[in-house]
């Protein structure tokens, strides 16, 4: 089942075409990676799917529903959970509160200050600890988010998106700025998550995604130049050309 789909999606910034007639299909229950050299348009593609950026033409479908004109928060309410390439957490709130906000949004994002029933609160608390456990941050739940190491903040970044119990988990370069050790840890977490969530992943280090992905889409200059299972991509000459001299 196709959970997320873009149709001829095009995003332009002035004279620059960042995303060029992209047709992307993400199958439910899979880990789908979008790779490409820096500047290929991957993050812009993400941003247009999440709603942060308006496309100049083309459409985005989520569960067969046209979401092209929905706002960021409306798309999040439908079940699109994304993490950011540059760590985008709530620095002065605790780790627990960071994830709690995501979990709570799932339950009642209405803007009225009505009280929340006790059983709901304890459900949320359980969910938060479950998510923190999945990324390995449960023991640091009481820390202020700003006090975490960069590696832990990247994990928190993912945890927040997870807290939404999203139908699609969109991860934008989760390993950005991580040491080799931390990268291995992160990819391990993602592999585990891949068993339970549909994941759309951006990475520019091609070797990282080979193991975890079922499908890989390769972007270059805003276009998708290759798409398929990892073995096919590995052998694809166009992909090799795009990456030669770029690393």
């Amino acid at each position: 089942m196709v959970i997320l789909r873009t149709e001829n999606l095009t995003v332009r910034f002035g004279a620059l075409t960042a995303v060029d007639r992209v047709n992307l299909e993400v199958q439910a229950g899979t880990v789908h990676s979008v790779i490409g050299p820096n500047g290929a348009g991957k993050t812009t593609l993400f941003n247009s799917i999440a709603g942060e950026v308006r496309p100049v033409s083309g459409r985005v479908f989520f569960l067969d529903r046209d979401i092209t004109h929905l706002t960021v928060y409306q798309r999040a309410q439908l079940g699109i959970g994304r993490s950011f390439q540059r760590t985008n957490i709530f620095p002065n709130l605790t780790v627990f509160e960071n994830v709690w906000l995501a979990a709570f949004a799932r339950v009642r994002p209405s803007s009225l200050p009505a009280p929340v029933p006790r059983h709901r609160l304890s459900e949320l608390k359980d969910r938060v600890y479950e998510v923190l456990g999945e990324v390995g941050l449960a023991d640091r739940a009481g820390y202020r988010a700003a006090e975490l190491s960069h590696g832990d903040q990247r994990l928190l970044e993912v945890a927040i998106a997870l807290g939404l119990s999203p139908k699609v988990l969109m991860l934008d370069e989760p390993t950005a700025g991580l040491s080799p050790e931390e990268t291995r840890l992160m990819m391990g977490v993602i592999k585990q998550l891949g068993r339970r969530y549909t994941i759309l992943l951006i990475e520019h280090k091609i070797h990282l995604v080979m193991e975890v992905s079922e499908t890989i889409s390769v972007m270059h200059f805003g276009r998708i130049i290759a798409q398929g299972p990892p073995e096919e991509i590995r052998k694809n000459p166009a992909v090799q050309e795009a990456y030669l001299g770029r690393r």
């Binding site: 928060y73 999040a76 985008n88 799932r106 994002p109 200050p113």
Partner: protein, 331 residues
């Protein structure tokens, strides 16, 4: 054991507050003491926007003044029950905040500040021009203080000390209500918006709607404070809606400390003390406010509360009592 200490710890500021309420009339005139709690409500309402939501609104006087004039006019012309006047003032403040909030919230940063400022100016000039109703630049005199009739008892609040008790009671109720708001999930979402609005939206929160609701709550409590002010001196001066008052609220809230719930109360105490006590010795007391404010901006952004925390922490380290808690204080 830690839980108990947290519980007791959370109780301490309230205890201090109650003690202060009981002691204040002995330290200064009843009207000054009453004014402290009136502005404390206003500052708490303002901090809901600034400290918790991250919105620097430069027009708090719009709601304060609206509430003051609404209550004043109702009391003068309709002789309503004081509690009804308070309710009407809160309603009026909330309504005006709803309208202005709806118009201003969609703008960001700079434009938001200038818009709240612009609406404050407009409100001032409307009141100025409508002098047949509002008394214009001379203010609205003759605001009565009818007794508080509660069926079983009637409370005459005309004496200075009786009104002081009335206001401090209302203040406590307002403070408890606002504390409940900021401690609720709604309050946490507001803080998330302050910390990182884009991320809050990416989680599914309609951030504009949350901000509008915060604005309305703030406006309502500010209006209520305005009503209390009007009844305090028996006159509603046009200052209540003048933009300088908005600035004063900003001053006292920041000086007290925006990162703590109780900070603005400290700021209100400090400001009113300066305004009413120091002012008789030295008319140029605003200079002190300005200088303290600059000091706070540069060295103690968390205001007096931060000074307190740091001093306490230093003391604790010197006597080796234990680890003080840093970061955003939840007390």
């Amino acid at each position: 054991m830690a839980k108990l200490r947290q519980r007791v710890g959370g109780f301490i500021p309230w205890a201090v507050l109650v003690i202060l309420i009981l002691v204040l009339p002995d330290l200064t005139r009843p009207t000054v003491a009453t004014e402290v709690w009136v502005f404390a409500v206003l500052a708490l309402a303002f901090n809901l926007l600034l400290g918790y939501t991250g919105l620097l609104s430069f027009g708090q006087a719009t709601f304060f003044g609206t509430g003051a004039y609404t209550a004043g006019l109702l009391l003068i012309h309709q002789r309503v029950h004081p509690l009804a006047a308070l309710a009407a003032a809160a309603l009026a403040g909330g309504l005006v905040a709803a309208v202005i909030g709806y118009l201003c919230i969609r703008r960001i940063g700079l434009y938001f500040i200038m818009l709240t400022f612009a609406f404050n100016l407009m409100a001032y000039f409307i009141v100025y021009q409508a002098s047949s109703i509002t008394g214009g630049v001379d203010g609205l005199p003759g605001v009565p203080r009818p007794p508080v009739n509660l069926y079983v008892l009637t409370w005459d609040i005309r004496s200075g000390i009786a009104y002081y008790l009335f206001v401090s009671l209302i203040f406590l109720l307002c403070a408890i209500a606002l504390k409940k708001v900021v401690d609720s999930p709604f309050g946490l979402v507001l803080q998330a918006i302050r910390e990182n609005e884009a991320r809050a939206a990416a989680l599914g929160y309609n951030t504009a709607a949350f901000k509008r609701v915060a604005f309305i709550i703030s406006g309502a409590f500010s209006g209520l404070a305005g009503a209390l002010y009007g009844m305090l001196f028996g006159i509603v001066p046009i200052d209540t809606i003048y933009w300088v008052t908005s600035g004063n609220v900003v001053f006292m809230t920041l000086i007290g400390g925006t990162t703590s719930f109780f900070g603005p109360i400290v700021g209100a105490v400090f400001f009113i003390w300066l305004a009413e006590t120091v002012s008789v010795r030295w008319e140029r007391w605003p200079l002190i406010v300005g200088l303290v404010f600059v000091f706070v901006i540069f060295f103690f952004r968390g205001g007096f509360v931060e000074v307190w925390h740091r001093a306490y922490g230093l003391l604790a380290r010197l006597t080796q009592r234990g680890q003080p808690k840093y970061g955003h204080s939840k007390d």
